[in-house]
Structures are given as C-alpha cells and as structure tokens.
Amino acid sequence: MGKIIKGSGLFKKTISPYLYLLPFLAFYFILQLFPLVQNFYVSFTEWDMMSPEKPFVGLFNYKTLFFKDYLFWGSVWATLHYIFLNVPLKIVIGLGLALLLNQNLKGKTFHRVAIFIPFVLNTAVVGLLFRWILDPQFGMFNYYLEKVGLGPQKWLIEPKWTMEIVVLVTIWWSIAFNAIIYLAGLQGIPEELYDAGKIDGCNAWQRFLHITLPGLKNTTMFVVIMQVIGSFQAFGNIYMLTGGGPLNATRVLMLHLYEVGFYYFRMGQAAAISVIIFIIVLVLTIIMLKFFREETE
C-alpha cells in the first residue's frame, strides 16, 4: 500500500484528497462562496436586477446607507433591540428548560417532545398563527383579555411592545434548540462532581453555580454565538408577524435588505447591507470566541 502511494507521485498525495472532496466543494463554491464573492462585487455596483450591466459605483451604496437612508440606522437599532432581548432570554429560558428536562420527572419524554414540537413548524406557519391569535379585532388573545376585563389591546399595531411580542413568539417557536443543546451539555458533566459537591456540603444553588455553569462554558459559547448569528439573520418570523411594522419598530436589517433589494430593486445597496451584516457578525464572533477562550484558560 505504502509502495503504491509512494510510487504514485505528487498528484495522488496533494490533489487526490481534494477530488474526494470535489462534490461537496462544488456545491460549496457554487452555492456559498461564489454568491459571497459575487455579493461583495455587487455591493460596489448599481444594479436594478434587469440590466445586464452593473456599473461600478465604488462606495456609493455604503455612503447612501450611512448618510442618506433614514431606515438603515433604524434597522440597525431594531436589530440590536431584537438581539439584546432575544439572545439573553433564549439562553436563560433554554438553560432553565434543560435543567428541568434533566430531572427524573414523570413523562420526561413527553415533555421533551412537547417542547420540541414548535421548533419543527415553519416560520411562516408560526408567524401567521400568532398574527391571528394576536389580531386586535378578532384575535383569541384579546378575546380572553376582554373576558377578564383587560382588553382589547392593540397588539402588533402600536409600536410599543411589538418587538417584545416578536421575541416572545420567537422564543416559543425556537427555544427547543437551546434546550436540547444545553441538555446535551448537562449530560456531559460527570455525576461524580455533583457527588463530591454534596459531600463537601454544597447546596443545590452552589452546585449549579460552581459545577453546572462552569461545565456548560463551551456549550454556552456555542449557544451564544449561534444565537447572535441567528438573530442577525432573523427574517421569516418577523416578516410574517409584523412585516417590519408598526412604524418600522421591528424592521430589522434583514427586512431592510429584503425591501431595498426586492421592493425597490437597488441590488447594490441590498448587497452592501449584507456585507455590513457579514462584517458585524464576523467581528462579533471573533470577539466572542476570544472572550470565551480567555475565560476557559
């Protein structure tokens, strides 16, 4: 065997592994890397989606976004609002659910499945479902609020609290992801550590603080990074629930990108938004990785 490899020369040693990777690489290049490179290029052009020419306009699209697009900064703010609500809540609730599911409760499997079911729903289904439930005029939620003398409320019509509602719906829909990841993390913490803690006289809270949380550091790093990236990419749930309204209160960057690109057909500007999102996410991910690594060390 060694003889064959030795005898086959440089080609087999250097190129042949890549040939095995070729099917994956072909998809990766065509569907991921090529659009990424193309997108960078389009962000420096002016293109209306119909013209075969894409005139190069330098930084025009970026300047327009920063200085002439009043909705851009509003979208940045809405995105940050969404992230600051969504990420911490999903981590805390996800961890809480995982801790509960990790107990030897009756019907453990049933509860796990029940929490996971909403996650398999399509974003469009979730958005439509809650739009109907929260409809101010004929929604189920207002119906019951009125029954107890608290309604009707202008859900999804008044800008106030709309982002909070969007985040709560998102949590209901996707919390299972964090819960399952944390559950896997919890099951990876050796039971002996808890036994040792008990012998040393640690109460439940102390065990959680000094054994569980440190044991979940890598899991938390993964969850935080995934949630931040996912929150920057949030689109379907918000688009279906509010369409970015009312009064642009939930118009996150991805919604702005979609509207600029596919309603106003300024593809160059839309590409510039995606480049900005890409850079923000990249920088944040590097910072978070560094932070968690230092913490671990």
Binding site: T14, Y18, F29, I30, L33, F34, V37, Q38, Y41, D48, M49, M50, S51, P52, E53, K54, T64, K68, Y70, P136, Q137, F138, K154, I157, E158, P159, G245, P246, L247, N248, E259, F262, Y263, Y264, F265
Partner: protein
C-alpha cells in the same frame, strides 16, 4: 506544512477565478438571453400562445380569467394563457428576473407607478401603432394615457382605472336619520354625518359604531391624504418630479383635517382593519378603492359615491391607480406573436369587455363609451362620472414611486400615532423624498 499552505493558496485562487469567471459568463449569458428575448417558445401548429402574467387575485383576476376563456373560444388561432401570481414586491421581482433571463411573459399587468421602473425593458407604442391595431386614444380617458407617456411614446396600455371613493352604509344612514340616497359631498357634511353615525348602540358607555374609520394600511392612508391635499390645491411633487412639494400649507391643512377625524371630531377610532369593520356594519362611511366592493356585496347595504370635496380648490379629486398591460421589449420582432398580443389587447380595450369587467370586478374602464353605459348603474354610476369628468389623478411617474409611498405611509403612521405636528412630520418626509429623488436622477 508549506505544501498544505501552497495547496490552500492554489485552491483559493481557483475558487476566486471560478467565481469571477462565472460572474462574467453569467452576465454575458444574460445579455445574450436578453437579445433573444423576442424568440419565444414554439406554439402548437396554427395557434399562437400569448402568455399573460397577472398580479390580480379575486375578483379582478378571476373575472378576467373567465372572460379570457371567451376570448380564446372566439379566437381559435390564439390561446391566451393567464397565470395569476401573488401581488407585491415578489411579483415585480419575478417580472424583473424573467426579463433578465429573456423568459418574460408576452403581457404582464402592473400598477400605475410601475411603467417608470420598466421603461428600458418594455415595448412602447405610438399613436399610429395603436390605431393600426384598432385602438384610438381619443376613445379613452385622456388622463389614463397621459400617465403612461414618456418622451412622446406610451409605455403601457391602460386597461382599467381604480380610484378611491366613498363607501357608505345605507342602513346605518337610515337609522341615524340621514337620507340613504345622499352621501356627504363636502367636508362639513362629512363631519356632521360622521358625528350622527358615531354611537354607543348598546349603552355600555363605549362607542361601538363609528362615523368613519382610517385604514391601518398606511400607503392607502397616504393616498387618501394626498387626495385631500390635491383638492386643497397642493401636489405631492413639483412639476418636473424632482422635489417634494407636499410640505405646503395645503398638505399640512389636509393632514391636520385627516388626523382631526380621530382626535378633534372623534368620528373615527384609531386606524384599523377597515374592510372587516365596514363589512360587519360597524362603520358608517369609509374611503377605499372602488374595486373593493365585491368584499361588501351581500354583507351590508351600501352605496359608493365620489370622494366628497373636503376642499374646494379642486373639488372631488381622488387618487387613482390603473391596471396596465406591459410587454417586454423585443416582442414586436415576432410578427405572429405581436399580432396575437395586439388582437387580445384590442379586445380588452373594447367597450364590451370594459363594461363587463367593471360590472363583474368593480374596476372602472378607461374607455369612454363604457363609462356612458355605466353612468346609469346604481352602484358605479357616480364613480364613472367622476372619471369621465377628470376628477381623478394618478401618482407621479417616477422610478422609485414605491419608496416614496413608503415614506408617506410612515409619515401618516406617525401623524396618527401623535408623533409630532403635521408640519414637522411632513417637513421630515419631504427631506427623505428629496433624497430618494436625488438618488434616482
């Protein structure tokens, strides 16, 4: 290690080369496809297929679909294939993508503001072209054709008009002691009627029947406000469509009046789902597009009248949109397809179709002879007269009209939410519209 680095660099170079070369090839391919746009799919022997994409759902699309069946039966050599698509940005994205790859339909319908977006990519028509196909411009509402005129040519065929009008609930009028045959015709009447119609019907101390109601689709709110402003002598943009002109005295007065329906006169609740509220008989008068009437038929006893004169400088003027046919550039190179398409357009623009379509779907015709036939119609008669007498106006033909609508919609939302005075809100919106217009010069 060195070798791995070298291989990595090599792979990266291949990827970048591949990405850029594909980009160039893609662009080239697109150009070639565009050049070949005129060459369409082969039709069945002896039959020319005309592909038609529509953004109109029920009732416009369904009525159109059933009428096209009649056309196909009457014209055995032509088959019009209609495909209804979801309206909105997605529809225009599909049209753009289809034009880019040379697969555009032979006809697609668009709103009044869309031709400006497609000028370079669609067929234009001269008066002579149209008359050769049996369409004489003088037979139609002049304002409809003028809205499609760029550099002396017509970009699109105005197949129908849908203005904003006043719907009123005749039963609620009667209960309030108002004459169900007469809708309000001016501002003071509208407010007085509104007050009479606003009631607490079950005596629980809460208003449950309103004089009027503002819609929570703020683009429409913007168009209604624009109607008030135009009646008051104002306009959205300046004459050459290069600057915003709505932060004027006329615009500010109009916005204050509109918001006062809620705040001062208390004849309207906060903006909400107007069609649902009117259909359930909880609102006496609403301002909405006339082709929405099918949603109320059989649910409430209602009438439609022209927009009241909220101001007297240009009485009864109301915002209107149109249903416009466009064809991709290059279609006329295929003589057979072009002839079939124009035959279909001629049929659509004929009095019979225009009248039947108005009665069936609520969209008003562009053909004057069809108006004459509609004037006696109890539901559509007054609206027909409004169009025939030129009391409608269309939005300005600018490339980024949808973006301007969005800015105006935001401004209306802010005004109704009490986020500032009318002059401040319109001043801010005006600067934003100027930026949009400057960007697209």
């Amino acid at each position: 290690m060195k070798r791995i680095k070298k291989t990595g660099i090599l792979m990266l170079a291949i990827v970048l080369l591949f990405a850029f070369s594909t980009s160039v090839l893609f662009a080239k391919g697109t150009q070639e496809k565009q050049k070949a746009a005129g060459k369409k799919e082969a039709a069945p022997a002896g039959k020319v297929v005309v592909n038609y994409w529509s953004r109109n759902g029920a009732p416009l699309g369904t009525v159109m679909g059933s009428m096209i069946k009649k056309f196909n039966t009457a014209n055995p050599n032509i088959k019009v294939k209609m495909q209804i698509m979801t309206w909105g940005g997605e529809y225009y994205s599909k049209i753009r993508a289809s034009i880019m790859v040379g697969k555009a339909p032979d006809i697609f319908d668009v709103s009044v503001y869309a031709p400006a977006m497609f000028l370079k990519y669609v067929e234009s028509y001269t008066k002579e072209d149209l008359s050769q196909s049996g369409i004489n411009i003088s037979d139609y509402a002049g304002s409809a054709w003028n809205a499609l005129k760029f550099d002396g040519k017509y970009y699109g065929i105005p197949i129908g008009i849908f203005p904003i009008g006043l719907y009123y609930n005749k039963d609620l009028f009667q209960k309030a002691g108002l004459d169900p045959a007469k809708a309000p015709t001016n501002q003071s009447q509208f407010i007085a009627y509104g007050k009479k119609l606003t009631k607490d019907t079950n005596g629980d101390g809460k208003i449950d029947q309103w004089g009027t109601m503002e819609v929570n689709w703020y683009n429409l709110v913007g168009w209604i406000w624009e109607s008030f402003m135009v009646q008051n002598g104002g306009s959205l943009l300046n004459k050459d469509n290069t600057k915003a002109a709505f932060d004027s005295k006329a615009g500010i007065e109009a916005l204050n009046l509109y918001v006062d329906f809620v705040r001062k006169y208390k004849i309207s609740p906060a903006p909400g789902d107007v069609p649902a509220a009117f259909a359930s008989g909880k609102v006496g008068m609403i301002i909405d597009f006339v082709h929405g009437l099918s949603g109320y038929k059989g649910k409430v006893n209602f009438g439609i009248k022209r927009m009241p004169s909220f101001y007297s400088k240009r009485p009864h003027m109301s915002w209107a949109s149109m249903n416009i046919f466009l064809s991709p550039k290059g279609l006329r190179k295929d003589a057979g397809k072009w002839k079939a398409t124009m035959t279909f357009i001629k049929w659509i623009m004929g009095t019979d179709f225009q009248k039947s379509f108005a009665l069936g779907a609520g969209e008003m015709p562009s053909r004057l002879s069809a108006f004459d036939a509609l004037k006696s119609d109890p539901l559509l008669g007054d609206i027909a007269e409004t169009i025939a007498s030129g009391q409608v106006f269309f939005p300005p033909s600018v490339v980024n009209a949808t973006e301007i609508f969005s800015v105006m919609g935001d401004a209306m939302g802010q005004a109704f939410a009490g986020k500032g005075s009318a002059d401040k809100i319109l001043g801010q919106a005006s600067k934003r519209v100027d930026q949009i217009l400057a960007r697209t010069k």
